[in-house]
Structures are given as structure tokens and as C-alpha cells.
């Protein structure tokens, strides 16, 4: 399953470690929320980056105390019609100021890339190679956005207001 990060297909430096499996001594790991919450300090003190897979049925509040020490948070789309993780992503980025990698995992198709990027995701475990290959092109599908999110894209309304302002300034 290809990983798209910062706009291109990259090697995944994080190792998914299953619950119960032994943790590697160093290197970046991605573990379940349950395992992480058993002993967060031990995980965070370990040599190597830590990332947590957070379920979409649990409020992100419990993760907030650790955000500045986590290298990655992976949010889950069990099917692409289940959109709970979009809210979690926006809360992590916009309310809690999380700046690390925010990864989308599960059933990820190209048709969600723009939505996910707008909600704050910057890494994607993409289901199909063809969709991963089409990432850059797909991200160019839209140039107009109606809603403000934390992604910094200028909204249609702001563009209109700017246009008005420059028009009236020119008179």
C-alpha cells in the first residue's frame, strides 16, 4: 500500500507494530491507541519516533496531552463513507495546534484527497497504486473553496472581498 507524503509517494519510515508484538529498540513506530495509552511515557521516552493510530470512535481529547511529543497521528477511515476522522483531523490541527504528521489510513481513494488535505491530513496510505500515482494531479482538481479551514487556502468569499477592496481602491 503506497504512502503519499508531502505530495509524493515515499517510503514509510514508520513500522506498524501490532498489539502484543515486541517493540523494536529504535526506529519510528506506529501503534494502537490502546497500546499507547497503557504507558505513554515509556513509548515517548523510547529511542525513535512514535506515532499513534487513533480510532474514529474516541474523542481526541485523550490524545491532546501528548501531541507535542508525537511524530505522527493516524486517523482511521474504516470505509470511505465513514467521515468521523475529518472532524478529528480538524480538531487536532485547528483547535489543538498539532503540527506533526497526520496520516489517513483505511479505505483511501483519490476522491477523498482534497477533502482530507483541507481537513489537515498530510500523509495518506492509499489503497490503489493508480490513486497514489494520481495524487498531484488530483490535488489540482479544485481551485475554489467555499469554507475556511486551517489549511490556509483562501476562501471564495475572501477572494471576492479582496477583489472588491482593490476595485474600490482603484477608483
Amino acid at each position: 500500500m503506497p504512502l503519499v507524503k508531502q505530495g509524493r509517494i515515499t517510503t514509510d519510515l514508520f513500522v506498524h507494530v501490532a498489539d502484543g508484538a515486541e517493540l523494536p529498540g529504535d526506529g519510528a513506530i506506529l501503534i494502537s491507541a490502546a497500546r499507547f495509552l497503557e504507558d505513554p511515557e515509556a513509548i515517548l521516552k523510547r529511542a525513535g519516533k512514535a506515532g499513534v493510530i487513533w480510532p474514529n470512535s474516541r474523542a481526541v481529547d485523550d490524545l491532546v496531552p501528548y501531541l507535542d511529543r508525537l511524530a505522527a497521528v493516524a486517523l482511521v477511515f474504516p470505509t470511505f463513507r465513514d467521515g468521523r476522522a475529518y472532524s478529528q483531523a480538524r480538531l487536532l490541527r485547528e483547535r489543538h495546534g498539532y503540527e506533526g504528521e497526520l496520516r489517513a489510513i483505511g479505505q483511501i481513494l483519490r476522491d477523498q484527497f482534497v477533502f482530507m488535505s483541507r481537513a489537515g491530513f498530510d500523509a495518506f496510505e492509499v489503497k490503489k497504486d493508480a490513486d497514489a500515482d494520481a495524487f498531484a494531479e488530483t490535488m489540482k482538481r479544485y481551485s475554489v473553496f467555499y469554507q475556511p479551514t486551517g489549511d490556509g487556502r483562501v476562501t471564495a468569499l475572501n477572494r471576492r472581498m479582496q477583489l472588491r477592496h482593490s476595485e474600490s481602491a482603484g477608483q
Binding site: G83, Y86, S87, R90, F115, M116, S143, V144, M161
Partner: protein, 551 residues
């Protein structure tokens, strides 16, 4: 009319390109039908009994003549020469070919029409009063706010994969023509004591198998805060709405399970935490949207022109005028409803030729503007009274002057088993038979206001719960049966109808309805007492007795 600017046009063209890619991937097999299903539903494409059905949005029910002509063209070029207007200000085409859909969408996009989010589990077409901007006594034009919400809900990055569909309706009149109390969010525009514009926000209304009337969650949300407040409701719903059972996934169930007070607290807390996230609408932002609406340059005309006085001698004209013509906020003008409920016809259908002709009449008599109401009729919103006689003659030739607006034959019906893969029973033939039974316009006039709503299954697309008489198709041992309710209403006093007794077979439905109407005529205490008021006064018992005594 709202005029799209370059940004609106760009966005819908980008959506067409995206959908073209999705269809291409489906046709090549790159997308499975399961994957494609969600994507096509996001764009109004259903797979029905015989073909794909394509639902196109008519935001807050406003169309230009150019747009209506383009809908006629799509009906002719891509469908079978007609379209069906729905109860949520959409139009449906029933015989679309998948491979041709992107081209049809592109042609619609040319005139600023889209099909975004007309189905699927997302925020649907924002609907409003079809008389918005012209009804006397309106607080202000709700279309400004409808358009603000249309833009905000379109391709929303957080709320495009909700637990279930989500419908918003707005009214700005005392008399609610937008049925806001049966919507997921209903917004009633009003002014506070300081004269500031805001909304009473209602939440959790909806029909289907578990019907609820919406409850007030906040009596006044200032206009500048409406987007952030709606966003807070949606965020609570997106996270906590049930996803384990499709029949319990609407927000009405969440509101019901939590109770309105607890739900309101959750929303309030989220709203406070949200803080300033760029959603506050300052005056200039609202004015920016308002400035894109154009209003007709009305003439100063007499209240009672000579043309109208002369035409009053024609009883057929007078009957139509009294039935289908409503007061306008500007002296000398009227709002004219065009009945899409001809005797013997399927409710809400219009042929491509009719659409073209209505577009021409709109250009001639209504400043090029047409409205679509949830009752599945059209309206011309700015007709000079002096033009009413000529307009009537033209409409009559087109079969669009049936004087039955709000009467017993102005039936709301879903497509039913004739088209729909969800239906248990037929709706359209029941409606057609009822229009024949009550074809005598004098009788219908004498009966007075009476709304019959028919749904072919429990999903309630025909809004049967809120019909004065509601007819619900069910299946019993492979046969079509119909449950009858009475006393429902969808207006500001919305309530659910009450079942009168056991379901009756297809062949008996029209007889039963006739019995109910006859009982009403005998029971009403004066001719002005409406059917629904008689039911309220007497309850269902006398009607039940009448219907079941001989069955």
C-alpha cells in the same frame, strides 16, 4: 436571482471534471460499483428500477428562464422528454445513461446549475420558501441566507461523509411554506428586540420510518453567527450520530436519544470551543452575497387594472385567479402558481415543451424568473396584474392552469413503484385516480384546502405523515396495501397525521378517500372550517367509523 461569479462557475466546472473522471474509472472497471455508488450519490445519481435517475438541484427553488430552457434541453437530449419536480426543490430525470451524464452535467454547468449533494450522506440542497423575496410581510429575503448556506455546505471538507443525509430549510415568513419543521435543521428568520436579523434554529425534524417534528435548539442565533452555529451542530452530529444502523443514523435519532436539552448543551459547548474560525459573517460579507442578487425593476402599477376588471366577467378566469394567484409585496403585481397536477397526470411532471413554454412566459411576464415549490408546482413570482388574463390563456393552452392549487387534487406524491427500487407500492396511479375522482373543480373548491400526500414506502418521500390526508404504500403478502392517516400538516403548526385503521388494498384507496372527504363535508361546522381543523376538533373517530363501517 443570484448570479454566479467566476468563482462559482469555476467550482461547478471543476466538479463536472471530477465526476467525468469518476464515471470513466467506473466504466473502465477501475472503480467497483460499491466504490462508485458513494461517488455517484454525491452527485445525484441513483440506480433505479429501470435506469439511472439523475437529480438536479434548484437551490431555494429559484430558476432563470435560461436555466429552465436548459433543463428542458437535458430532458429532451438525454432523457425521454420530461422531468419530475420533487418535494425538495430538485428536478429528476429518470432515464439517463451513465456514459452521457458528464455531458449533461457540463451543459447544466454552463447555465449555473449543478447536481452536487442532491443525494448521499451529505448536506443536501438548501431549500426555502418558493415565494421568497416577493411574499408580503416577509422579514427579509431568505435567499441571501440560503445562498450563503448553499456555498458553505457545498463540498464541505468535514461534512461530506455524514452518518446520513442532512437537509436544511429556511423560511422568513410567518406562514411556513418551506416545511422547516420536518428538516434536519430548520431556520426561521426573524428579528430580535434590537431589530437585528437572526434565526430561530430548529433541529431533528424528519419523516421516514421514525418521524419527528423539529425542536427549537436556540430561539435566536444572530445572522453573523449562523454558519458557526450550524457548523457546531454538524460537528456534534458527525462524531456522535449513529453509523451502525442506517435507520437510526439521522440527526433526529441522536436528538431523540440524547434529549434536546443535552444535545443543545453539546452543541453550545462545541460552539464556544470553536471560537473565531473565520466563519463569522460581518456586514460586508453578507452584503457581498446580497449584491449578487438582482431584483426586478417594478413599474408603478394600479392595484386593480382595467384588464383584470374586464376579465372578471369570465368565470373560468375568475376561478383560476382566485385559486392560483397570490398577493405580491409590490402593488400591481401577483405571484402566480402553475399547477403541475393536471387531472389524470403524474404529480410534479413537466414535459420539455412545457418547460420551454414556461421559460418564454417568464421572460414575457415575470422578469425571466421561475420558482419551484416543495408542493411540486412552479410559480411565476412577478406577474403584473394587467397581464394575468393573457397569461392565463397561455397557461391554459399548455395544461398548466388547472385551478387546483392547495385543493384535494394538488397531490404530493413520490415516484413510487413505477420507478423507485425502494418502493413497496405504486404512488402515481393512486394520485391519478384521485385527481379523476375529484376532477370537478366546483366540488374541489367546495371542499377547500386539503393536502393529500402519498408515499410508496416508509421512507416517506411523499411526506405522507404531514399530509392532511396521508397515504402510505406497504406490501402485504406480495400485494399493495395502503395505510391512511389524517390530520397531519407541514406548516408552522406541523404535526404528524394519525392512522385511521387497518391498511386497505390498492383498489379501495380512492373509495376510502372519497368516504373521508364526504365525512368531512358532513361534519364541518361551517364551509370555512378546513378539513385539517375538523379533524383537530373531532379527532379521527368519526372518520374511522365512516371508512370502516361498511368494510
Amino acid at each position: 436571482m443570484y448570479a454566479y461569479d467566476e468563482l462559482d462557475r469555476t467550482l461547478i466546472n471543476e466538479r463536472v471534471s471530477e465526476f467525468r473522471d469518476q464515471v470513466k474509472r467506473r466504466l473502465s472497471g477501475e472503480l467497483t460499483e460499491d466504490e462508485f455508488k458513494i461517488l455517484r450519490l454525491q452527485n445525484g445519481v441513483y440506480l433505479q428500477l429501470h435506469a439511472y435517475m439523475f437529480r438536479v438541484a434548484i437551490p431555494y427553488g429559484t430558476l432563470s428562464s435560461k436555466q429552465l430552457r436548459r433543463l428542458a434541453h437535458v430532458a429532451r437530449r438525454y432523457d425521454r422528454g420530461y422531468g419530475h419536480f420533487t418535494t425538495r426543490q430538485n428536478i429528476q430525470f429518470n432515464w439517463i445513461k451513465l456514459a452521457e451524464l458528464p455531458d449533461a452535467l457540463a451543459e447544466l454547468a454552463d447555465v449555473g446549475i449543478h447536481a452536487m449533494q442532491t443525494s448521499g450522506n451529505n448536506m443536501r440542497n438548501v431549500t426555502s420558501d418558493q415565494w421568497a423575496g416577493v411574499a408580503p410581510g416577509e422579514v427579509e429575503d431568505p435567499r441571501i441566507w440560503s445562498e450563503i448556506l448553499r456555498q458553505h455546505t457545498t463540498l464541505h471538507p468535514e461534512f461530506s461523509f455524514l452518518p446520513r443525509k442532512f437537509k436544511i430549510a429556511i423560511t422568513a415568513s410567518e406562514h411556513d411554506r418551506a416545511a422547516i419543521k420536518i428538516h434536519d435543521i430548520g431556520l426561521r428568520l426573524h428579528k430580535n428586540a434590537d431589530g437585528e436579523t437572526g434565526f430561530e434554529v430548529l433541529v431533528g425534524g424528519g419523516l421516514g420510518r421514525t418521524p419527528f417534528i423539529a425542536k427549537t435548539i436556540k430561539p435566536f442565533v444572530h445572522g453573523r453567527d449562523i454558519l458557526s452555529y450550524v457548523e457546531a451542530i454538524l460537528r456534534v452530529y458527525n462524531q456522535y450520530g449513529r453509523r451502525d444502523n442506517i435507520y437510526k443514523a439521522r440527526i433526529k435519532i441522536l436528538v431523540h436519544e440524547l434529549g434536546i436539552e443535552k444535545f443543545a448543551r453539546e452543541v453550545e459547548e462545541e460552539w464556544k470551543l470553536m471560537g473565531d474560525v473565520g466563519l463569522t459573517l460581518d456586514h460586508s460579507a453578507i452584503e457581498e452575497v446580497r449584491s449578487r442578487f438582482s431584483y426586478p425593476a417594478y413599474e408603478k402599477l394600479p392595484h386593480m387594472p382595467d384588464e383584470l376588471k374586464q376579465a372578471a366577467a369570465d368565470p373560468l378566469f375568475e376561478r383560476w385567479r382566485k385559486n392560483s394567484v397570490a398577493p405580491h409585496k409590490v402593488q400591481g403585481y401577483s405571484i402566480v402558481t402553475l399547477s403541475l397536477k393536471p387531472v389524470g397526470g403524474p404529480p410534479g411532471d413537466a414535459t420539455a415543451d412545457q418547460m420551454d413554454a414556461v421559460a418564454d412566459l417568464a421572460d414575457k411576464y415575470s422578469f425571466g424568473e421561475i420558482r419551484v415549490g416543495h408542493e411540486q408546482n412552479l410559480a411565476l413570482p412577478h406577474v403584473a396584474k394587467r397581464d394575468l388574463p393573457q397569461l392565463w390563456r397561455a397557461l391554459d393552452r399548455l395544461g398548466l392552469a388547472t385551478p387546483n392549487v392547495n385543493l384535494v387534487t394538488d397531490i404530493i406524491a413520490c415516484p413510487g413503484l413505477d420507478y423507485c427500487s425502494l418502493a413497496n407500492a405504486r404512488s402515481i396511479p393512486i394520485a391519478q385516480e384521485l385527481t379523476r375522482r375529484f376532477a370537478n373543480h366546483d366540488t374541489a373548491d367546495m371542499i377547500g384546502r386539503l393536502h393529500i400526500n402519498i408515499s410508496g414506502c416508509i421512507n416517506a418521500c411523499g411526506h405522507h405523515h404531514v399530509g392532511h390526508i396521508g397515504i402510505l404504500g406497504v406490501e402485504k403478502n406480495g400485494e399493495e396495501f395502503y395505510q391512511i392517516t389524517i390530520g397531519g400538516r407541514a406548516d408552522e403548526n406541523a404535526q404528524m397525521g394519525v392512522l385511521i385503521g387497518p391498511a386497505v388494498p390498492y383498489a379501495e384507496v380512492a373509495d376510502v378517500i372519497e368516504d373521508i372527504v364526504e365525512a368531512y363535508l358532513a361534519l364541518r361546522d361551517r364551509p370555512e372550517e378546513l378539513f385539517v381543523d375538523t379533524v383537530k376538533r373531532l379527532g379521527v373517530e368519526p372518520f374511522k367509523e365512516r371508512v370502516y363501517a361498511t368494510r
